[in-house]
Amino acid sequence: MKPDDFDFASQFFKDRSGLVLTREKAYLLESRLMPVARKKGLKSLEELIAAMRVGRDSVLLREVTEAMTINESFFFRDIKPFDLFRNTVLPRFLQSRASKKALRVWCAACSSGQEPYSLAMIMREEAARLAGWRNEIVGTDISSEMVAKAKAGLYSQFEVQRGLPIQLLVKYFKKEGDLWQIDASLRAMVRYREYNLLTDLRGLGGFDVVFCRNVLIYFDNETKAKVLAQIRGLMPDDGILFLGGAETVLGISDYFKPIPDLRGLYMPTDRKPAAGTAALSQAGTPGA
């Protein structure tokens, strides 16, 4: 691959999605973009990048961005954060939101929906304690294809065997041909939207809990800081942020600090977000 082509592609994906593509990861261009090239009748990566440079085919530009940013996902990934959500975070909000009886949770970059549906299953299992609550889970992803898959809630046999306890499969899924579909009542608990984390996020409303796991690792520090500042702007002062196991806010953002003894969980610091973001973040949480 010509260095010039690599530089163009690298800059292109950084601008579009925040993805940082180093030279060691150049092979990803080949493995992830060749299927797109073939679909478009192009013979090589060079031809595809040439078409991207022309930049007129907005469908193509979207498809290459989606192909590069697709991440694997599975139910109850890493399990610990979900145990913490169920046993620590949920009880905390059950208390602090007892009069409001509303909780909003956001799964940023939710891929094909396993994370929001895992949370939906937990909330359903805790239904007795949440009776009368108006809760909402919002799942967003940059990829329209992923959002469509998440909405459909259809998973392959392979996907439902990764992380999902068999009792929950039997309880909440139906077999549809070779695939498994999550129950309509759980699908109704999650609202999915196509959203790019690099854009203005205020339209999403406010969130008490944000899952943003294994997303920031793809960004450079400046972009990480921007996304974290935006998340802070959407949160009340007692909000909770979940990051992936390999991620941290330390040295990147002073809007969040680790919650002692709760690995992977972060809470807002005393630093206040800019007035504009704070005011708008209230919009989605009436009474906040």
């Binding site: 046999q157 392979f158 065997q161 990764r162 992380g163 068999i166 499969l169 039997v170 077999k175």
Partner: protein, 121 residues
Amino acid sequence: MKSCLVVDDSRVIRKVARNILEDLGFEVSEAANGQEALDVCKAKAFDSILLDWYMPVMNGIEFLRALRALPNGKGPIVVFCTTENDISHIQAAIEAGANEYVMKPFDSEIIQAKFAQVGLL
């Protein structure tokens, strides 16, 4: 070192499962049907059992029911591993006392995930 009894009438499947489980640090024994497995289980307490459904002599679900009826039969964690992938089979397995259920085809990732889920890893 935790032990696992692999019960399957296919020698190839037993071999594949053995390789995966040994990589995960298990001491692996094998049985070719439910009756053989039951005999072994009367003599030895296993930490876990990876269990096929359809086998000659005694099938997996019959074995599981017989195992759970043994004096110390509640102990082993039983993971079904079968091509049967409809809800009714899965339901029957859970009712008979299975702890987890793997639908074939499986790979090391699925075995690892399922064994971790039931606390074996």
